[in-house]
Structure formats: structure tokens, C-alpha cells
Subunit: 440 residues, 2 copies
């Protein structure tokens, strides 16, 4: 007998990361990594935990949105939800009055992600498995029944999705065993936030190299000469054979991106992340313009998706060949349900999935998805890696485990969303102890 | 001495339109037309009124977002704002922490629209002019200084925008006089909501014909056989020479849209509105697929924009030749500032602007924008008309005036956003008299 959800609580939990410039980039100069943190209370002892990720101010709006969505959730049993998870997804995303506020974008969609993440956490706990294992053990039909195919059937039908999963079944056990022993490859963004000094960058990079890291991402986009200096510095530190990615966090207009990135091409970045507006699919196809202007086209590719807001945007980016890496996000897309759709579309288009992570808790969540992607969908590690940022893991009851720059598969039941009660209390905004002290 | 904003209040005002199926369409079966209604209080007697439009549930989230944005507005003088309106627009849309919640889409963007609409209303009142006249009297440089060109400079630069406005100056006085005497052509959506019976449709259509209406929009998309019957009915009523448009309100997937619309082609709709997801720029280019499948391509065009969320989406739709009519929206886009950008881009691409309207108050607002478009930008009425819906005007202090199916230019100072105090009180949710009685 699966539990019934009898209450939903949501809290505004903020970490004052801006005080030390952690997380700073060209567009987000002073983020306070935060969550709208959701707990599903049931008629049993089980609870479901979930959240979405925000940058501080405005988290109260997401909290308000979760409260509004709660009325669609309270009273539902887990059995009722998972028997028709597609229907439940659509209930949250396509309410006749509420969908005007999106649809499936912005505040209402990240709030939906928070609620659905908690439902998946609850389901995995009820099954006594970590989420990745729950997904790996599901048969293709059931997995696909969780996906809302609305607006993507011109690229991926339900039948095609089942077929893709069936085809990837060979070697699954072997890949699962491999993951359990080796873990999933990661890259680090912790060394090179935009607000860090050169000295800090060098120190962190040296530490990371000693720790076995081989793939590094650098924030760029505020000042071209600074970027040239920092790219040179990090490339000298890591040498020609390690991997460098750069991330402009939506800073540039299209033409500006072309000229700016041309200056940075000599440092051979594997990708340029978010060169321009997250809505600009056609602008993102700007990588084609590089091929007209110079010859380093093979290193100047642009994965574009960090804040891409739903499966319809990913569909088009893939249709337009506008990205070479798909960056799924566990808190911006509509939870596992919508990420499943995107992973399957990426597989169909033969584009590797390299999840966006970091923030607070994003690593904890997205590791489950990328393990599933490797074991059950892509069956490849070629050009694949999951972002890692070394912040704030201490606030979770089941923090990520990194070994030799690899994510080791989580073992605890659930989706690794649960935060320590003490952290929630201390960092709750505006009444937690940490904020009361800062505002003294 | 221009006034200074010292306080912002916002109210959740809902009209129970769902009880009579007004506004019902294939995706929004029971809308309660609503607003998040903003009042800017100043240190003078002047106030600024503004709102955004919603469908009922979830309006409380927009109210919360307006409250969060208020801290960026309180303390600013009108002079300070309009001296650098681009900077003020960007302050609201690009706050380093808040932009994560959009950027420029969903709840946070419609809340921004509500606040900026109130600022424009305040400005027009301070100048003692209706908003359209304030815009018409501004010189091109000042108009363009209100636009944030971020992410659109690959299609429209500031200099190009000024040039477009300068080129359109000839004949401006004549067009203004023409508008004052004749008004701007309108079409009606009031006859054919999806929830109306055939009898109701016929009655309303007969009334509209007698009232001088020649252009009609019909909601479609729920049931194909119903649509065929209703299209036949309305085409018979209005005859071959009047104009028919159909609106699917995002109901279809891409392939479904192609087959469905093919069945309705015989009724010669001028446009098919929102055939699929508002995010699907490439899917919207589906009109090209009609040309492969049958010969009525000239009547099967698809304007796509009703809920298109910002200038970056419009830019791409224009770049991709994915629409033949641009439907601006006074409450979904970032107020006058962003609509100016879209009108200028549409003009550059030679695509007519036909505003989305209806709801509650959208007619009151968007008439100002389309008057400006005709007088100062497009200088043409060819294939141009503004949506009109005959609902809820009685709640405004300066309601629209329609004569012979034309919008007569508003004369009162401001942006026609002000609602009657008595209406705000009665319809406030959940404590207004109307809602208290309904929930008894």
C-alpha cells in the first residue's frame, strides 16, 4: 500500500555565497545559492523531499508558486500518481488557468520541478532504492509512460522512445557494475568563478590537478582582456591535453559572441556555454558563422542549454543542429519526467548529454539522471561528463561522493534531495540564524 | 518637477468569467479573467495604474512577484526613470539574482509588465496626454532610448531603429488626423468562444454583422468535426467577402496541426493562430509544410505570437519567416518598451502587426500601441487590425470606445489602465464581495 500525500510544506532556504564570490559569473555577479525546499508529508512515516535551485532574491515567488501547486498534489496517493505519471505531470503543467503563467517556463516551471522532484524522491524511498536504480530497473514502457510527449511527437513518439530503450538494453548490467566500481566522469567548475583572483584560480587549479581532475570550466564574458589572461593562465596550468570549457552565462549578443569567442579560440575550449540568450535558438546556431570566419571550427562548438527551459526548446536546438552537447538540468526542466524526454531526444540525434550542475544540491540530483543515461540510454562515455562544484554538500543527508574526479553512484534510497534539518533552520530566509546575524 | 514613487500596492482582482464560458478555448476551458493590479503612489497627487492579465488561479504568484520587484521601484523619481528608461527596464529584467527566475519569461516577466505599464501610465498622466499621443510626440532618439536592444542587435541596432522612425515621419500628422476621425480597424472574437452553443454563435454573429463588423475570429482545436461544423456555420453567416481567422490556442502537436488545418482550409481562414507550443519556432515554420501538401497556401498562413514571451522569440520568428502576422501583447511582453522593439522589428521584416487583445483590459492598453504603430511606424492599414472582445470594459475609468468596428483614439491622459475603485473592491480575490458570495 503506497502512501498518500496529506500535506506539502515549502521553505525559502538561502546560503550567503555572494559574500565570497562563489558562483559569480558575467551575468550573475553576486548569487546567493538558494532553494525552494519542499517536503511531502504522507499518511505513513515516509516523506518525499525535493527542491528547485534559485539565486537568492525572488525565491519567495517560487515558494508562493509551490504553495499554489500544492492543492493539485494534496490528497493524491503515490500509487495514483505513478500509475499515470504522464497525467500527473500534465495536471501540474497544463491546468487550464495556471498554464497562462508559463506554460512550462519561468517561475511556475521551476516550482513544478521542485514538487515533482519530491514526488520522485518519495517514490524511490517507497521502493527502497536510489532514484537512478529505480529508473534502471523500470521497464521501457513504464519509463516512457512518465513522459509528456505533447509538442515533441514530430521528433520523438512514444513508440520510438520505447524502441530506443529496448535497443540499449544490451550490456546494461555490465555498465551498471562499471558505474558501481568506477563512477561517472566529472568536470570541475570550482576553480574559476569570475569573481576569483588570479592567485585564487591558480591555487584552486593546482589543488584540483593534484586531486586528479582533468576537465575544467572557466567563467568568461565580463572583460575580454581579463578573459584572455585567465584562459592563458588556466591553459598553462592544465597543459594541452586536459580539457577546458568556457561559459559566458548569456552575456553576449550574437555578433559580440562571434568576435569575443574568436579571440579565445587559441585556448582551444571544448565548448562555449551559453554565449547568448537562452531563448535564442537561431542565434545559437551562430557556431555555423565561425566556420565562415575562421578555421578552428572543430574546437569552437557551442553547447547551449544551461537555462534552456523545457523539452520544446531542446527539441528545436537538436533539430537545428544548434548544439553539440546537451546540458540537462534537474531543477529547471520538469523533473525526471521532462529530463527523460530530453535524454531520449539527445540520443536520437546522437548528441552527448553533459548535465548542468553545481549551485546547491544540483550535483546531488543530476548524478542520478546521468547514471541512468549511461546505463540505459547512451551506453557511451565518449565526450561525456557531469559538472561538479564543491559547494554546500555538507547540508544534505546523502551528499555526493566523488572519487578520482568521478561521481560514485548514490546508495541511499531516494533522490538525494533531503537537507539536514539543522541547515534548513539555520539558513531559512529571512528568519534563520545566519540571516538574522547578517542583517544585524 | 516630476513625481517620485513612494509606494507600490498590488491587488489580485478576478472576474468569474468561467461561469458563462466567456473566453473558453481548446486549452483554457474555464478562464476567470483576472489582473494583478498595480498602483504607484507618488509624493504628488498623481498616481500610476498598471496591470498584467491572468486567467484566475495563480494570480497570487504574480502579485508576489510584483511585490518582490517593488523594492527596485520605490524611491525612484519619474524623471530618473525616463531619463534612462532602458536602464530602468534592465534593472527590472536583469537583476543578478532575480533573472534566474526568467529571464524575461513567465511569472517574473508578466509581473514586470504590470509594473512598467504603471510607470508608462504615470508618465503619460504627468505629461497630460493619452499614452499613444505621448509616444507619437516623442522624438525618435528618445523613443529608442526606452528599448533594451540586448539579444536583438543582430537584427535591429539602435541606429537602424532611429532610421526606421525617421523614414516614417512623412505623413504622420495626416495619419494622426485620420485616426482621430475614423479610428483603427478592429476584428471581433466575441462571437465564437469554444464553450458557446451554435445558437449562441449564430445570434452573436448576426448581431455583430448588424453592428458593422467584417472580421471574425473563431476558437478551434478541441474536436475536428465540431470545428468543421462551426467554421461552416460562421462562414455561411459572414459570407465569402468577410474575414475569418481561427485560433487553436496551442492545442496541437506539429503533425496534428498540419492535418487538422488541412481539413479547415476550405473555410479560407486568413490565419491560424497558435497552432502549437508558443516556444516552437521551428514547428511554427510548419506553414511551409502546407505548401507541400496542398495548394491553398495563400490562405493557410500562421501568425504565431499570442503568448510569445519576449523580443528574442519574435526576433527568431521573423528571422525564420515563421509568421505572417505579429501579435504583440501589452501584458505578456515587457510593456511599451519591449513592444516598441517588436513593432520596429516587424516593420523591418515587412510583417503587419495585429495585436492580441481581449481578456480584461487588454483592449484598453493595446489600442495605444497600435495607434502609435500606424502613425509612426508602419504607415499602413493593409492586412492590419486590432483584436476586440466585448467584455469587462465597464470596470475601467476610461473604457475603449468602438465605433463602426473601429477603435477611437483614447483622449484621457494615461495608458487607460485605471480600474474603478468599486470594481477592484468587489472583485478582489478572495475577499471581495463577488467571491465571498460565490464561495458561500
Amino acid at each position: 500500500m503506497l502512501p498518500k500525500i496529506i500535506n506539502v510544506t515549502v521553505k525559502d532556504v538561502r546560503f550567503p555565497t555572494s559574500t565570497e564570490q562563489h558562483g559569480s559569473d558575467a551575468m550573475h555577479t553576486d548569487p546567493d545559492y538558494s532553494t525552494a525546499y519542499v517536503v511531502l508529508h504522507t499518511d505513513s512515516e515516509l516523506k518525499g523531499f525535493g527542491f528547485t535551485f534559485t539565486l537568492g532574491k525572488g525565491t519567495e515567488i517560487v515558494v508562493c508558486a509551490v504553495e499554489s501547486l500544492s492543492r493539485l498534489v494534496v490528497g493524491k496517493s503515490l500509487e495514483e500518481i505513478v500509475r499515470d505519471f504522464r497525467g500527473f505531470y500534465r495536471l501540474l503543467t497544463s491546468d487550464s488557468q495556471m498554464r497562462w503563467l508559463g506554460p512550462e517556463k519561468g517561475v511556475i516551471h521551476v516550482a513544478t520541478a521542485a514538487v515533482l522532484n519530491a514526488v520522485w524522491d518519495l517514490w524511490a524511498r517507497a521502493e527502497g532504492k536510489p532514484l537512478w536504480k529505480l529508473l534502471v530497473d523500470m521497464d521501457p514502457e513504464q519509463l516512457v509512460s512518465c513522459i509528456d510527449f505533447r509538442y515533441i511527437t514530430d521528433v520523438l513518439t512514444e513508440k520510438e522512445a520505447v524502441d530506443l530503450l529496448l535497443k540499449a538494453q544490451e550490456g546494461r548490467q555490465q555498465r551498471e557494475d562499471q558505474m558501481l566500481s568506477e563512477g561517472y566522469p566529472a568536470y570541475t567548475t570550482s576553480c574559476a568563478w569570475l569573481g576569483y583572483s588570479d592567485q585564487q584560480l591558480q591555487q584552486l587549479c593546482a589543488d584540483a590537478l593534484r586531486g586528479g581532475w582533468t576537465r575544467f570550466k572557466l567563467k568568461v564574458g565580463a572583460d575580454l582582456e581579463d578573459d584572455v589572461r585567465r584562459c592563458r593562465l588556466i591553459r598553462q596550468m592544465i597543459g594541452p591535453n586536459n580539457t577546458l570549457m568556457i561559459d559566458a552565462n548569456q552575456k553576449w549578443d550574437v555578433d559580440e559572441a562571434v568576435s569575443w569567442v574568436s579571440r579565445l579560440a587559441e585556448f582551444k575550449p571544448l565548448w562555449i556555454e551559453e554565449p547568448t540568450s537562452p531563448d535564442d535558438i537561431l542565434g545559437q546556431a551562430l557556431r555555423y558563422r565561425f566556420s565562415e570566419t575562421h578555421s578552428q571550427t572543430e574546437t569552437i562548438t557551442s553547447p547551449f542549454s544551461l537555462k534552456c527551459h523545457n523539452r520544446v526548446m531542446f527539441k528545436q536546438l537538436l533539430q537545428a543542429s544548434a548544439l553539440q552537447f546537451v546540458q540537462i538540468d534537474s531543477c529547471r526542466l520538469g523533473s525526471v519526467n521532462e529530463n527523460l524526454a530530453v535524454m531520449l531526444m539527445a540520443h536520437k540525434f546522437k548528441v552527448p548529454v553533459c548535465p548542468h550542475s553545481g549551485g546547491v544540491g544540483l550535483c546531488e540530483l543530476v548524478q542520478h539522471l546521468i547514471l541512468f543515461d549511461y546505463i540505459c540510454v547512451s551506453a557511451s562515455l565518449n565526450n561525456r561528463m557531469c559538472e561538479y562544484v564543491d559547494h554546500l554538500h555538507e547540508h544534505f543527508t546523502s551528499p555526493v561522493v566523488i572519487k578520482d574526479a568521478h561521481y560514485l553512484p548514490p546508495k541511499d534510497p531516494g533522490y538525494s534531495c533531503e537537507m539536514l534539518d539543522s541547515s534548513v533552520q539555520r539558513y531559512q530566509f529571512p528568519d534563520g540564524e545566519v540571516w538574522l546575524q547578517m542583517n544585524k
